[in-house]
Symmetry: C2
Subunit: 554 residues, 2 copies
C-alpha cells in the first residue's frame, strides 16, 4: 500500500503474528471508526441509526472486497459464534441491564414474562407450523427438527436491534416491554432449542409438556439467581475491601471481570448467559455502583456504554460484510425463485407469529392494570409488534449453527435456509429498522416523558434515583397527571374488570412494598447502595474523597 | 461441578460456543479476580507486586491442573503470540505513553535513545558471543542464526516488567530511562531480528553495518511518525466534529479505536507497533485528551489504566501457568545438568550484557548534563542496571517464535533453549523483581519528589500540567533546590568538561524553546490541548458544559 520496502530488509516480522489477522483487524477498526464518524454526522437524521449505517458500510466493504478478490470472497473473517457469543454479546446485554430503568422494568415484570415466555412459544409454534405447511410445497427437503429449529430461530426478538431502534428516554414503556421480552425469550429459546434436538412428535404428551415448562422455570430462576449472586458478590467484596483506597483501576477491573464471569459461568452450566448478565447488570447498578469512588462511577458508566456501543456497531458491520459471501449464494443461484419465496414466507411468518401473541397478550395484560399509564393501548401494541420484528446477529448465529454443522452445508435445503436467513435479517433490519423511528413518532407524538427524563441527574446511570422496585405507589398520582396524551388511547382501555384487576395488582404492590422495606433494612446496609455506602465506616465515604483523589495510580 | 443435570434436558447448548474455550475463559477470569483481590490485600507489602502474585497464582494453578489431568498438561490454552502481540501488549504500552511524564521523558531523550539503541546492540553482541563461546562446550547444536537470535531475545528489556517494579512517582528519572529504553529497544530488536534472519558472518562489512543503522533510523522515524500522526488525527477529528455534543461514548470509542489502529497499522507495515502506540499515547495525552468532555477525560484515563492493568496481570498469570507445560520439560528431563547450566549461563550473560552498556553509557550521558538532577549517579546506575534485568512475556514469545517453528520443536537444542528461557523469565521476574523494590528504597531513600508529585492535580493524566517539551529552562532553579539529596551522588558527578557539555546541551534547549513556541502558536490552536480547546468556537467549551451534561446516551 504505497509502502516502499526497497531499501528495507525483508518483512520478516519480529512479532510474527499472523499477518492475515493483522490485515482484517486493521480493516475492521478502520471501518468502526468510519461508522462512528458517519453516525455522528447523521445523528440528526430521522431515518438513520447506527446499526443501519454499519450494515450499509459493511455491505459496501463486502462489494469492494468481492471486486478486489475477483468474486472469491467478500469477508475477511469466518463468522465465529465464539466471537459473537463470548465477546460481543455480553457487554451489550450487561450494559442494557446496567442502564435499564428498573422501575419500568419491574412494574411490567409480569407482562414482560408473558411476552418473553408465552409469546415466544406462540410465535415458535406458528412459524414452525407455517414452515412445515409452505416449505413442503416448495420442494425443500428438511427434517422435522429443522422445521422446529426454524421456528426457534425466527421466534426470538433480537435484543441488540431493539436497543438500536427504541429509545429508553422517549418511550420507556415500549422499551422495557420489547427489550425485556428479548432478554426473557433467550431463556425460552434455550429450552426450545434443547427440546428440538431430539424431538419426537409421536411421543408428545402432557408429561413432556410439563417437563418443558419446568425446564423453562428452572433455567429462568437459576440464570437470574446466578446474575443476582454475582452482582451482590461484587457489591459485598468492593464494600468490604474498599479497593478505591489504593486504586480506582482495581475497582473498575473487578466490576468488569465479575460481570463477565457471571456470563461465562452461566454458559459453563448451560444456563442462559443473557439472562444472567442482564440481572447482574441490574444488581450492580443498584448496589455495587454506589460503593465505588466517584471517578470509578463515571468510568464504569461510560466504559460499559462504550463497549456495548462498539460491540453493536461491530456486529452490524460484520453481518453486512458476511451477507455477500459467495459460497452460500452459489448453491442457490440456480433456483433464485425458491430462495425469494422462502425468504418472503419466513418474513410473513415472522409478522404473523408476532401479531399472534402481541395483541392477545396485551389484552390480557391490560386486564390487570388500573393506571392508564401502564395500559398498552392499540397504538402501543402496533409499535410493540413492529419494533420486535427485526432479526439480527442472534438469528444468523443460530442459523449457522443449525444449518452448517456436521458437514452437510452443501445440501440445497440448508444453503437456501442460510441465504434466506441473511435476506430476512438484512430486510428486517434495514426496512423495519428504518421505519421504526418514524412509526414511533407518528403513533406517539411529542411524549411528555422526554423532557422529564432528560432533566434527571446525568452522572448516574439512568433511573438510579429510584429504588429497585419502589415508588410505584407514591408516584401513581404524578403518572396520571403526566400522561394526558395517553388517556385517549383506543382499544382495550375502556374495558375495566375491576375485581380481577384488584386481585392481580394487589400482590404486585405488596411485593414492591415489602421489597423496599427489606432493601432499606437489610440489603443496603450489607451490600451498600444509594444513601447507604457513605455511612458505613471503611467504605467509600465522602470524608475519604480527598484521600483517594490524591492517588494517581495503584 | 455439582450441577445436577438429572431433571434437565441434555446440555446441548443453544449458543454452541466451543465449551473448552468457555471453561478456560471462566478459569482465567476467576484467577484474574483472585489476583486483583490478593494484590489489593498485599498492597502494603514491601516485597510483593502484582506481577509476582499473578506469576505465583499461575504456577499454583498449573500444578493443580497438572495433578488433576494426571500429569498431561498444566495449561488450558496454547501460548498464542497473536493474543500477546495483538491484544495484550498494545493497551499496556499505550497506557504507558498516555501516563508518561513527558517532561522527564523528553529531557532524557538522547540518553534514552543511547540506552535503547546502542545499549541493546552492545548487550546483543555480548550475549550472542557468550552463547557461542559457552554453548559450544555444552554439546548444544545450534545454527549461527540461533545464537544471534538468543542475543536478540535476551538483549531486550521487558517494558511490562519495568512498569511493575519502578514507580513513576517515586523515581521519575529511573522510570523514564529504563522504560523509555524498553520502548526504543523494540525498534532495535526488529532491526536485529530481521538482520539475523539471513545473516552471513563472512559478508559483514561497513556497507551492511551502515545499512543496518539506516534501517534502525528508518524504522524509528516512521514508527514514531505514524504514532504522532494517529494521535494528531484523533485530536483534530474530535476537535472539529466535537463528538461530545451527542455522545461521550463516541469520543471514548474513537480515541480507543484510533490508538489501537495506530498499533495495527504499524504491524501491518512491519514497523515497531510498540514505538508507534507509545508516541500515539503521548500525543493523545497532550492534545486529544483536552478536546473531550470532562466525563470522557475521567473515563479514558481510568479505562486505559484498567485495561493495561488487567492485560499485565493476565500476561504474568499466563506465563506462570505455561511454565509447567510437561511437553517441553520431558525432552530435557534426561539432561537436567545441561538445562541448568544453560539457564545459569544465560542469566550471567544477561547480567554482564546489561552492565556492559549501562555504566559506560551513563558516564557518556553525564558528560552532557549540567544539572545534578539530570545526572545519573552511581547508585542510580546500579538501579538502572538492576531494574532492566527482568525478562518477561516478550522474551517468551520471541523464544517460541525462534525455537518452535517449522516443526523442529522436538530437537534437543531447541527444547533446552525453550525451557531455559522459561527458567530465566521466572527467575529474573521473581528474584530480580522481588529485590527491586527494596533495592530502590535502599539506594534512594525518601526521595523528595514523591510528595511533590502526589500533590499534582489528580484528575489529569500525570504531568499534563507541563507543556510537551517546555519548562526545562525555567524550572532549573527549582530543580537545583529540590534535589539536595541527589547532590552528593558519587561516581562521575565530579567530572565536568564544560565545553563539550555546552556544545551538547545548547541544541536541546533550543529545540525545547522553539518547540514550545511552535506548540503555542500553531499546534494547539489547530489540534487543541490544554488551555486552547475552550477558546475555539465549536470545540468543547465551558459554556457547553450544561448542554452535554444533559445528554445521557447517544
Amino acid at each position: 500500500m504505497g509502502f516502499d520496502s526497497g531499501t528495507i530488509i525483508d518483512p520478516v516480522k519480529l512479532a510474527t503474528s499472523d499477518h492475515a489477522s493483522v490485515v482484517s483487524i486493521t480493516l475492521f477498526v478502520t471501518l468502526l471508526c468510519t461508522c462512528i464518524v458517519i453516525g455522528h454526522l447523521l445523528e440528526e437524521n430521522r431515518w438513520m441509526n447506527e446499526s443501519i449505517i454499519a450494515l450499509i458500510i459493511g455491505l459496501g466493504t463486502g462489494v469492494f472486497i468481492l471486486l478486489v478478490s475477483g468474486g472469491k470472497s467478500s469477508h475477511l473473517m469466518l463468522f465465529s459464534e465464539d466471537l459473537f457469543f463470548i465477546y460481543l454479546l455480553p457487554p451489550i446485554i450487561f450494559n442494557a441491564g446496567f442502564q435499564v430503568k428498573k422501575k419500568q422494568f419491574f412494574r411490567n415484570f409480569i407482562t414482560i414474562m408473558m411476552f418473553g415466555a408465552l409469546g415466544t412459544l406462540i410465535s415458535f409454534i406458528i412459524i414452525s407450523l407455517g414452515a412445515i405447511a409452505f416449505f413442503g410445497r416448495m420442494d425443500i427437503d428438511l427434517a422435522i427438527g429443522d422445521f422446529l429449529a426454524i421456528g426457534a430461530i425466527f421466534a426470538a426478538t433480537d435484543s441488540v436491534c431493539t436497543l438500536q431502534v427504541l429509545s429508553q428516554d422517549e418511550t420507556p414503556l415500549l422499551y422495557s416491554l420489547v427489550f425485556g421480552e428479548g432478554v426473557v425469550n433467550d431463556a425460552t429459546s434455550v429450552v426450545l432449542f434443547n427440546a428440538v434436538q431430539d424431538f419426537d412428535l409421536s411421543h408428545i404428551n402432557t408429561g413432556i409438556a410439563l417437563q418443558l415448562i419446568g425446564n423453562f422455570f428452572y433455567l429462568f430462576i437459576t440464570s437470574t439467581a446466578l446474575g443476582v449472586v454475582a452482582g451482590l458478590l461484587s457489591a459485598y467484596v468492593i464494600k468490604k475491601l474498599y479497593f478505591g483506597r489504593h486504586s480506582t483501576d482495581r475497582e473498575v477491573a473487578i466490576m468488569m471481570l465479575l460481570a463477565y464471569l457471571s456470563y461465562m459461568l452461566a454458559e459453563l452450566f448451560y444456563l442462559s448467559g443473557i439472562l444472567t448478565v442482564f440481572f447482574c447488570g441490574i444488581v450492580m447498578s443498584h448496589y455495587t455502583w454506589h460503593n465505588i469512588t466517584e471517578n470509578s462511577r463515571i468510568t464504569t458508566k461510560h466504559t460499559f456504554a462504550t463497549l456495548s456501543f462498539v460491540a453493536e456497531t461491530f456486529i452490524f458491520l460484520y453481518v453486512g460484510m458476511d451477507a455477500l459471501d459467495m459460497e452460500k449464494w452459489k448453491v442457490v443461484s440456480d433456483s433464485p425463485k425458491t430462495s425469494i419465496s422462502v425468504s418472503a414466507t419466513l418474513l410473513g411468518l415472522v409478522l404473523l407469529g408476532r401479531a399472534a401473541f402481541v395483541f392477545p397478550l396485551s389484552f390480557l395484560s391490560n386486564l390487570t392494570k388500573k393506571s392508564p399509564y401502564d395500559k398498552i393501548d392499540f397504538k402501543k401494541q402496533i409499535t410493540i409488534w413492529w419494533a420486535g420484528l427485526m432479526r439480527g446477529a442472534v438469528s444468523m448465529a443460530l442459523a449457522y449453527n443449525q444449518f452448517t454443522r456436521a458437514g452437510h452445508t452443501q445440501l440445497r435445503g440448508n444453503a437456501i435456509l442460510i441465504t434466506s436467513t441473511i435476506t430476512v435479517v438484512l430486510f428486517s433490519t434495514v426496512v423495519f429498522g428504518l421505519m421504526t423511528k418514524p412509526l414511533v413518532r407518528l403513533l406517539m407524538p411529542s411524549s411528555k416523558q422526554l423532557s422529564r427524563m432528560i432533566s434527571s441527574e446525568p452522572l448516574t446511570p439512568k433511573s438510579f434515583n429510584v429504588p429497585l422496585l419502589g415508588e410505584s405507589m407514591d408516584s401513581e398520582g404524578e403518572l396520571f397527571g403526566a400522561n394526558g396524551s395517553e388517556a385517549h388511547g383506543g382499544g382495550q382501555t375502556g374495558v375495566r374488570p375491576s375485581r380481577l384487576r384488584m386481585l392481580l395488582t394487589t400482590p404486585t404492590r405488596t411485593v414492591h412494598y415489602y421489597w423496599r422495606k427489606f432493601d432499606d433494612a437489610f440489603m443496603r446496609p450489607v451490600f451498600g447502595g444509594r444513601g447507604f455506602a457513605p455511612y458505613v465506616p471503611g467504605s467509600p465515604t465522602e470524608e475519604n474523597v480527598h484521600y483517594w483523589q490524591g492517588e494517581n495510580k495503584y
